[in-house]
Amino acid sequence: MAGGNVAIKKQKKKNYNNMAYFFVLPFVLVFLIFSVYPVFRTLQLSFANYKGFGKIDYIGFKNYIRVLKDPYFWTALGNTIKIWSVNIVLQLGMAFLLTIVFSDIKYKIKGLGFFRAVYYLPNIIAATSVAFLFKTLLDWRYGTINQILAKVGVDSPINWLGQPFTAQLSISLIQTWMWFGNSFIMLMAGVQGINKDYFEAASIDGAGRWKSFYYITLPLLRPILLYVTITSLIGGIQMFDLPFLIGTVNGEPLGATQTAIMYLYKFGFATRPKQVGYASAIAYVLFLMILIISIIQFKVMNRKED
């Protein structure tokens, strides 16, 4: 009798667990079709010569060899990294200083909620609107920013978006404007997550503000700093909306604002006829780079937990 009961119980338990298949089914189906398949389809097309319609000719690694030898690809990747690095240094630098200021035990700065919201504000606006806003404000001859500068004594108008260096710098600064609040919130959340006892113990031991910052806050913030940097790098390699709308598909002026994804977009969607295979190969080269970065991230993050 008892054995029979156990068997029934087991059977019931098993039934519960079988329900899980129904619950994960929608996710799995959609995931396979719209996420997994496109990844492999892109891989397949990266070995082909394909105009987007008609015949698909498989040509082996030729597309990849072309990517590696293509100076314009490397220029585009270089632009992306230049724009990103100026941005990340400023963005993290500002976020970091703000975090120090707001977590300072001596000054007790008030209004964290207000400042945090205002600093974050530019981030929720669509990049398309931001791009047009600055494109218009930064206009060389008629833009409001040059008019303001003229009022404070900068006589010759700066052609912000018309020269390679200032155009790249402008995009970096707009990115910083959009993202420093986000980084600040993440760093601040990290500081607020630090156990207050550490600081108390440190002050009992006679450690001052700077010492407790250097020995407690900084080491505990390091993983978050790293996380923010890596996610920003992965996002940065995919930079598209802002430079695309400011510099259009060729990355005006002189290709200086053409990012790697814009270069991919050009071959995959803009040129006639399309060079879908080549665009796919560009995607996979970028993909491998991001993969390597992610693996490094994983390694470093896991080291922390040991």
């Binding site: 719209f34 389809r41 919201a117 974050y120 995959g268 991001i290």
Partner: protein
């Protein structure tokens, strides 16, 4: 004394930064009320009287409200699908033991690291193969599978769900799906809300995918519509109209942000502190 001065300087710098964050929007609002000619010749913070002309110029060129409505029609269902199915999937992966569970979980983790834009070509190829170009379906349905949201909610559920509660419900004869709807989902609600905010903003602001998939102007989402300003000759030279179009696209978001900034900000903090 020195302490007070230093503190004062710190506040000044903080306020200066806040001003920098807001000034572009302020300039936009002021310029939206001035004529293109006025904007080109002088700078002022005093509103002009061309609000109506600019409005007419913008809406004579395209119907931005159509764009707002189109964005809404995509962002809302996509957010609901992401929230519901991510919660359901996270629930299944947390509570049950079944074959393939680990495979699903690890695939999710791997795909979280694969940036969507890089499988763009394959995605476009698939959508055109399915004859779904210029339809909202490929902008909405993929929201059912959002690996990042599932991952976050799974972690969230593990920390808040008492398993004994499920056993008790089962003894009372509740069905598994109603356990999810009546017990588990309400417990997860704060975590789901956090993810839903992020998902809504992401969908609302999305540009590249709608740009690729939508052809007919009357189906354009707001960002795609705004971007079409680039191509126009007649409105492109009228800065007053451009600022007006931007204001129409930005002001609703600013208003929503005024009311929800607390939740939006807590949703970002949630992403960073996962211990």
């Amino acid at each position: 004394m020195a302490y007070k001065i230093k503190k004062g300087i710190v506040y000044l710098v903080l306020i200066f930064l806040a001003v920098i964050c807001m000034v572009p929007f302020l300039l936009m609002l002021v310029n939206a009320t001035r004529s293109g000619r006025e904007i080109m010749t002088s700078f002022t913070l005093i509103p002009g009287d061309s609000l109506k002309d600019n409005w007419n110029a913008v809406f004579g060129f395209f119907n931005l409200f159509q764009g707002l409505w189109n964005s809404f029609k995509i962002a809302v269902p996509a957010t609901i699908l992401t929230s519901y199915f991510s919660a359901l999937t996270a629930y299944a992966l947390t509570v049950y033991k079944f074959k393939g569970k680990n495979v699903i979980f690890y695939t999710i983790v791997i795909f979280m690291m694969i940036p969507g834009q890089l499988s763009l070509i394959g995605f476009y190829n698939l959508v055109s193969g399915l004859k779904l170009i210029d339809s909202y379906v490929p902008l909405i349905i993929p929201a059912i599978a959002s690996p990042g949201t599932v991952f976050f909610l799974k972690q969230y559920l593990e920390s808040v769900l008492p398993m004994a509660l499920l056993e008790a419900a089962r003894i009372d004869g509740a069905k598994e799906i109603s356990i999810f709807h009546k017990i588990v989902f309400p417990i997860m609600a704060p975590g789901v809300a956090t993810m839903a905010i992020g998902s809504f903003i992401g969908n609302w602001n999305s540009y590249l995918i709608p740009l690729l998939l939508l052809n007919s102007p009357k189906k354009f989402t707001l960002p795609v519509m705004i971007a079409s300003l680039n191509a126009s000759k007649d409105i492109g030279t009228n800065q007053g109209a451009i600022y007006m179009a931007l204001a129409v696209s930005i002001v609703p978001v600013l208003i929503v942000f005024c009311f929800c900034s607390k939740y939006i900000i807590s949703s970002i903090s949630a992403g960073s502190v996962k211990e």
